[in-house]
């Protein structure tokens, strides 16, 4: 059974000029211990998907359709108090910027102990021991001493280790990591990703890893979901997504990988830009930029369709082939 199952998730922002549909029919699942990469251009809806899962969409944003199941239990409609108990305990979260993720007025030990004691029935002394062990596990030297230090006494990379320790403190089975290394120095990004991967593997925790970095995806993930304009364009095993992508958008993305090191945002190699939420075309959202577009693409929206080893939201893979 899958650990997390997201079905036809719709997230909307009601506004003065009508309702914006930021996520539209997003469906995927994550198996226990699995690492699912989520890629896509900025604004594709990656962060919103993560926020919807942990139940922290910022109003007026809200789930307007679909369901989210964790370990077979529906969680998207839980009362706030019950959802709070799941956050941290069942689903941990890591955000982009370690410099601003930690309360400057709390020692890291206080935050760790507080988080542990919120969710687990342990004494304060025991919680502190656990906290020290966690810090050691995340590679912080002299953990027993540094536990009483404040965030400003740590470097950016060290702070992200603390953030990881905090996310793992109550032993969740799933970590939603939203671009956890984007704000860090390039030289330590790989270390932090490797650390996250190792710690989750040791604990059997699954990861939803949101990132821009195709290199990280290739090295870290088991499966990949490609998002485009609030929808999933393609999802499948990492090897197949990289080597034989089925969706024209994914193909465009993957064509860029060899050049990733050259500091160019090659996502834009595909002509045009992702449409704004107010201007998503009917049919396939990618159709204005697609080189293989045909009539059906402009009229009907494609569901995720089996496309060999992956599943792609593209009419090219309609059974029997849709090409004219």
């Amino acid at each position: 059974m899958s650990l997390l199952r997201v079905e036809h998730l719709v997230v909307e922002f009601p506004g003065r000029r009508g309702t914006l549909r930021a996520l539209d029919q997003v469906s995927f699942d994550i198996a226990p211990g699995e690492i699912l990469g989520v890629v896509g251009e900025s604004g594709a809806g990656k962060s919103l998907t993560g926020a919807a899962i942990i139940g922290l969409l910022e109003p007026p944003g809200h789930i307007a359709g679909g369901e989210i199941h964790l370990e077979g239990r529906r969680i998207d409609n839980l009362p706030p108090e019950q959802m709070r108990r799941i956050r941290g305990r069942k689903i941990g979260a890591i955000f982009q910027d370690p410099l601003t993720s930690l309360n400057p007025l709390y020692s890291i030990g206080r935050m760790l102990v507080e988080t542990i004691m919120t969710h687990l029935p342990v004494s304060a002394a025991e919680a502190r021991q656990r906290a020290i062990r966690l810090l050691k596990d995340t590679g912080i030297a002299a953990a027993a001493e540094r536990i009483d230090h404040y965030p400003h006494q740590f470097s950016g990379g060290m702070r992200q280790r603390v953030v990881i320790a905090l996310a793992l403190a109550a032993e969740p089975q799933l970590i939603v990591a939203d671009e956890p290394t984007t704000a860090l120095d390039v030289s330590i990004q790989a270390q932090i990703i490797a650390l996250l991967k190792r710690l989750c593997k040791e604990r059997g925790a699954a990861v939803m890893l949101i990132t821009h970095d195709m290199g990280v995806i290739a090295e870290t993930c088991d499966r990949v979901a490609v998002m485009y304009a609030g929808r999933i364009a393609e999802i499948g095993p990492v090897h197949e997504i990289i080597n034989q992508p089925a969706h024209p958008y994914t193909r465009g993305l993957m064509a860029c990988i060899p050049d990733m090191t050259q500091e160019r945002d090659l996502l834009h190699q595909i002509d045009g830009a992702m449409p704004r939420l107010t201007a998503i075309p009917p049919g396939c959202a990618f159709n204005p930029r697609c080189e293989q577009v045909f009539e059906r693409c402009r009229q009907e929206r494609p569901e995720l369709l089996a496309a060999g080893p992956t599943r792609a939201a593209c009419w090219l893979h309609a059974s029997g082939g849709g090409e004219p």
Binding site: F95, D97, S101, L102, N103, E114, T118, H152, L166
Partner: protein
């Protein structure tokens, strides 16, 4: 940190000397004290003798130095109006003002902070909007008007509280306090409320604004993502960060409370330093005015220093004693 404190002490000294200079100039400005003391028709010899006796024949700098040395010992000479030593007069009035200001500050904090927190957490609720409307009134109504209104309603109409004086006071080692008797509390209520209202609304608005700001930060979002209770997030993480600027402002306001107690003290005939000062101004009682100026400046300076030190206690980022590894 030591360097920081030293720097602040030097700044404080400069402020004090400047204020002392202004106070000292008051004496020059108001006219020749010799003429004042001896009248118009005196012989030049008499005048010169008195001048020498008072040290007035010495250069300006030397005179100022004497003034400073005396002031440092709390010595400001005799009140021109009452003929009593100024230091004695001030010492008599000092406790009344301090007690009034402290009670007002406490009132403002104890009511203002929770109101601000509520208005931030329940933004848009009916009660929050009521708070915000009241606070607008509090900020815009002048203190004397509030005082008079309170007297009108609670002293004249309802007769619940007395409208003037300190009531019964007890003397403890030279400090007269009204806070140990029921009558004293009865008397301090209206003036303290009057003095507190402006600060209260200020604190409430400040707390609300700061709290809203803090609630938007990443560390609050991350605290929620860890499943901490609303209570821990709001009253632990958020409130603590909110209080850092609130401490500063409130601390600085305390100086203002003491200084601006003048109006409240006048309205309620509260026998504090403010009332003393107003009377001194009416009679051009320079020594009393000078002493009051210096004392208020000293209070401001001491409060500022304490606020700076409090900052160190609250905000670990300012404590550089423990070197952080990077």
């Amino acid at each position: 940190m030591l360097a920081f404190i030293l720097r602040r002490l030097v700044q404080a000294m400069i402020v004090m000397i400047t204020v002392a200079l202004i106070a000292f100039m008051l004496f020059q400005y108001v006219g020749d004290p010799v003429t004042f003391l001896l009248g118009q028709d005196v012989t030049p010899e008499e005048s010169r003798a008195l001048r020498a006796a008072l040290g007035l024949d010495q250069p300006f700098v030397v005179q100022f130095w004497h003034f400073l040395a005396n002031a440092a010992q709390g010595e400001f000479g005799f009140s021109l109006r009452q003929g009593v030593k100024v230091s004695t007069l001030i010492a008599e009035r000092f406790p009344a003002t301090i007690e009034l200001a402290l009670v007002a500050a406490l009132l403002a904090l104890v009511i203002g902070v929770p109101m601000g927190v509520y208005a931030a957490l329940r933004r848009g609720s009916f009660l929050s909007q009521v708070f915000m409307t009241i606070s607008l009134l509090g900020v815009s109504l002048p203190t004397f008007l509030i005082g008079i209104l309170l007297i009108l309603v609670f002293a004249v109409q309802l007769g619940w509280f007395p409208s003037f004086g300190r009531g019964e006071v007890v003397s403890i080692g030279g400090w007269t306090t009204g806070l140990l008797t029921a009558k004293g509390w009865h008397h301090i209520t209206l003036p303290a409320v009057t003095l507190a209202i402006f600060q209260l609304t200020l604190i409430m608005r400040l707390v609300r604004a700061e709290m809203l700001e803090v609630l938007r930060t990443d560390y609050i979002k991350f605290a929620r993502a860890r499943g901490l209770t609303d209570r821990a997030v709001h009253f632990g993480h958020a409130l603590k960060n909110t209080l850092v600027p609130v401490i500063t402002i409130t601390g600085l306001q305390l100086g203002g409370l003491i200084a601006f107690a003048i109006i409240t003290e006048t309205v309620f005939q509260w026998p504090g330093m403010g009332l003393l000062f107003i009377q001194a101004v009416n009679f051009a009682d320079i020594p009393v005015m000078a002493a009051y100026l210096c004392l208020i400046a000293l209070i401001f300076v001491v409060i500022n220093l304490s606020v700076d030190l409090l900052y160190f206690v609250v905000d670990p980022r300012l404590r550089v004693d423990r070197a952080g590894g990077h």
